[in-house]
């Protein structure tokens, strides 16, 4: 079932900072709207897992990494700019 999902997303946040909270909400709503049923979103708290920051080359937070489909993309910020988030995720909207 999981392998069939097209979008693998990882969101890195820092606890409950305003940016993080906004980012979680924004990512969730965008995914629900555009990728419903076709995505997997993992959320990591970098405060809890500091070693992951080095492994994943994380500098700015919040960061959303699109692992799949390739190419891999990184989105930083609170994801409030929906158009940029969609562009970053490679989603073309036909409005």
């Amino acid at each position: 079932m999981e392998s069939a999902l097209e979008y693998h997303l990882e969101l890195y946040i820092t606890g409950t900072s305003p940016n993080s909270v906004r980012a979680i909400n924004n990512v969730k709503s965008i995914c629900e709207e555009y990728l419903k049923g076709n995505y997997e979103l993992k959320i990591f708290d970098v405060y809890q897992l500091p070693e992951i920051a080095q492994r994943e080359q994380i500098i700015a937070l919040p960061t959303l990494i699109k692992k799949n489909p390739s190419p891999q993309r990184r989105l930083v910020g609170d994801m409030s700019d929906t158009a940029k988030v969609l562009r970053g995720l490679g989603i073309v909207i036909n409005d």
């Binding site: 906004r22 920051a53 500098i59 891999q72 994801m79």
Partner: protein, 584 residues
């Protein structure tokens, strides 16, 4: 170093700023102890000036020499590349990482992969750095080059406020940090990092003059501490960075009254019979081919024979060339080299800039600790600097050597032959003793005349001596002052020969006369002997007559007696007969 052990934030109640020693030779002297402890320091400079190397050396030396773990956050190079780079300086980065003394975190940031979608901060960097620091208990942190963030992320406002927060955070962490920054057009760094790092700023430069590059270091600012303000040359070699502090130009060096022989006994006699003072500086100048190097080599050899250590910097010939050439005048330098008393360093002056030469000479002297240093010839240095620069460099060198009580001999090529115009890079006023060798051209040949122009603090000969180089060594002889002026070379020898001839002739004349007298005496003695013989024969003749007369008288007397007796008629005819026979 004891201060280091406290490893705490600088206590504001203590007036003096605590420092974190870098271990980089020379830098700690300039900064009076090192970088400000627990504060960020900015090292800036153009590409290739050694920022990364200096910062990694700070981390490596911290780990190795001061037992302080360090974190190196690289925004440009990967850990493997860094390990390779420092391996060339003899550091084993991999091992230090294994020993938990160093941590390298490579930050990869690629603009094309990143989409900025709103508000963000650099907490990721903080967390990474914090994790790295805490995991090994780091006291030293390097961020090389943090400005790369500006190329990866576009929101400058966020970056700037985050950087300010980062430096504040580093201070709170109590780590001593180095931030490197690329030099900008009009400011110290492209992104104006100097605004945030206000405690200590070190500027590295790479200057090229006459196609020769010199690395220079300057402390632009060091809040709360004294520091050297000059530009200091520094050198990157197989042992890392070494900075040359310009020695304090105070004239308070202690002096010695011990002397060192020059290796030429006759020259020592010209110098008050002892030679040169220990720790003094000697200049040997002269035109081409006058034997300056020979004097220098002879001095070096003499020092080595007295079990002194000697270091020979050659700027013109290779060591083997000098050794071969000196063999031809009976000086064998191979022995002292083998025994470790003599060390040669030959390099073309154009190898480095002047300052670099000074740094490398410093380093070599510090390592070898010689008693005697020879620079042959200093005039070649002029190819890499102006006269005044060479002079400034030599002043600093002499100053350093005098502090270390090292005797130094410079040789200098004089291009003109006029003593008054002769300045020899203007250092003749700097040196303690100055030997000048001049060509004396006469009778179609060239000879060398040696003068002692000056020799501070000792009576010295004012005479010009002829300087002779033979296969047995060097020698000085008195020049002849004849009716035709000063005689040197073959003219002098001819003069000596003439004098010797005259002496021989005179000797002969005297001995001939002596012989004549003795002959005359013999003749006279012979004559005396003849006369004596003559006299004896005459005397004998006379004696003979006298005896005959006596005999005759006796016989007559006897005869008369017998006759008388016969007349008396006593005895027979026999007695009468015998006197008759005798008579016949």
């Amino acid at each position: 170093m004891n201060q280091k052990k406290s490893k705490s934030l600088p206590d504001p109640t203590i007036g003096l700023l605590q420092k974190s020693p870098t271990g980089i030779s020379g830098l700690d002297e300039i900064t009076r102890g090192g970088l400000p402890l627990g504060r960020p320091t900015l090292i800036c400079g153009s590409a290739g000036c050694g920022k990364t190397l200096m910062s990694i050396e700070y981390i490596m030396r911290g780990a190795l020499e001061f037992n302080e773990p360090g974190v190196f956050m690289a925004f440009e190079e990967k850990a493997e590349e860094l390990a390779l780079n420092v391996a060339s300086l003899g550091f084993d980065l991999e091992q230090l990482i294994k020993d938990q003394l160093v941590r390298v975190d490579h930050v990869h940031i690629e603009r094309s992969e990143i989409e900025e979608t709103g508000e963000y901060d650099l907490d990721g960097l903080f967390i990474r750095l914090g994790y790295a620091i805490d995991s090994i208990g780091a006291k030293r942190v390097v961020l090389d080059t943090i400005e790369n963030l500006f190329s990866g992320l576009s929101n400058e406002n966020i970056l700037r406020s985050e950087l300010r927060r980062l430096f504040q955070w580093l201070k709170e962490k109590g780590v001593t940090a180095i931030i490197t920054g690329e030099r900008g057009e009009s400011s110290l760094t492209r992104q104006g990092l100097e605004e945030y790092v206000s405690d200590c700023v070190i500027l590295l430069d790479h200057r090229i003059t006459n196609q020769i590059s010199t690395r220079l270091l300057r402390i632009v600012k060091y809040r709360g501490s004294m520091h050297g303000t000059n530009e200091y040359p520094f050198l990157i070699d197989e042992e890392g960075i070494s900075v040359l502090p310009v020695t304090s130009l105070q004239l308070d060096t202690e002096v010695s009254t011990d002397t060192l022989t020059s290796g030429i006994a006759t020259l020592d006699r010209m110098l008050g019979g002892k030679g040169f003072y220990k720790g003094s500086s000697i200049l040997v100048s002269g035109t081409a081919g006058t034997g300056k190097t020979s004097i220098a080599a002879s001095f070096a050899n003499a020092a080595c024979l007295e079990k002194k250590r000697c270091m020979y910097f050659a700027f013109e010939e290779s060591p083997s060339q000098i050794i071969r050439n000196m063999l031809s005048i009976g000086i064998d330098l191979r022995g002292p080299i083998k025994d470790g008393f003599l060390e040669f360093h030959a390099s073309r002056p154009t190898l480095h800039g002047l300052e670099m030469h000074l740094v490398s000479i410093h380093k070599k002297i510090k390592r070898f600790k010689p008693d005697v240093v020879i620079l042959d010839p200093i005039t070649n240095l002029i190819t890499v600097g102006s006269v005044s620069e060479v002079k400034a460099m030599l002043i600093r060198l002499v100053d350093f050597l005098q502090n270390e009580k090292i005797t130094v001999m410079f040789t200098a090529l004089a291009l003109n032959n006029t003593v008054n115009e002769q300045t020899d890079e203007g250092i003749s006023s700097l040196v303690d003793a100055w030997l000048l060798i001049r060509d004396i051209e006469n009778n179609g040949e060239r000879n060398r005349g040696l003068y002692v122009m000056k020799s501070r603090g000792m009576g010295h000969s004012n005479q010009v001596r002829e300087f002779i180089i033979t296969s047995q060594g060097l020698n000085l002889v008195d020049v002849y002052l004849g009716p035709d002026g000063v005689l040197t070379g073959s003219a002098r020898e001819a003069h000596i020969l003439r004098e010797e001839t005259g002496l021989a002739l005179q000797d002969q004349a005297i001995s001939r006369k002596d012989r004549e007298i003795s002959r005359k005496r013999k003749v006279l003695e012979a004559k005396i002997a003849g006369l004596q013989t003559e006299f004896e024969s005459v005397e004998e003749e006379l004696n003979k007559v006298y005896l005959e007369e006596e005999l005759k008288a006796e016989i007559q007397n006897k005869t008369r007696q017998e006759l008388t007796e016969r007349r008396i008629g006593k005895e027979a005819k026999n007695k009468v007969q015998s006197p008759v026979a005798k008579k016949k």
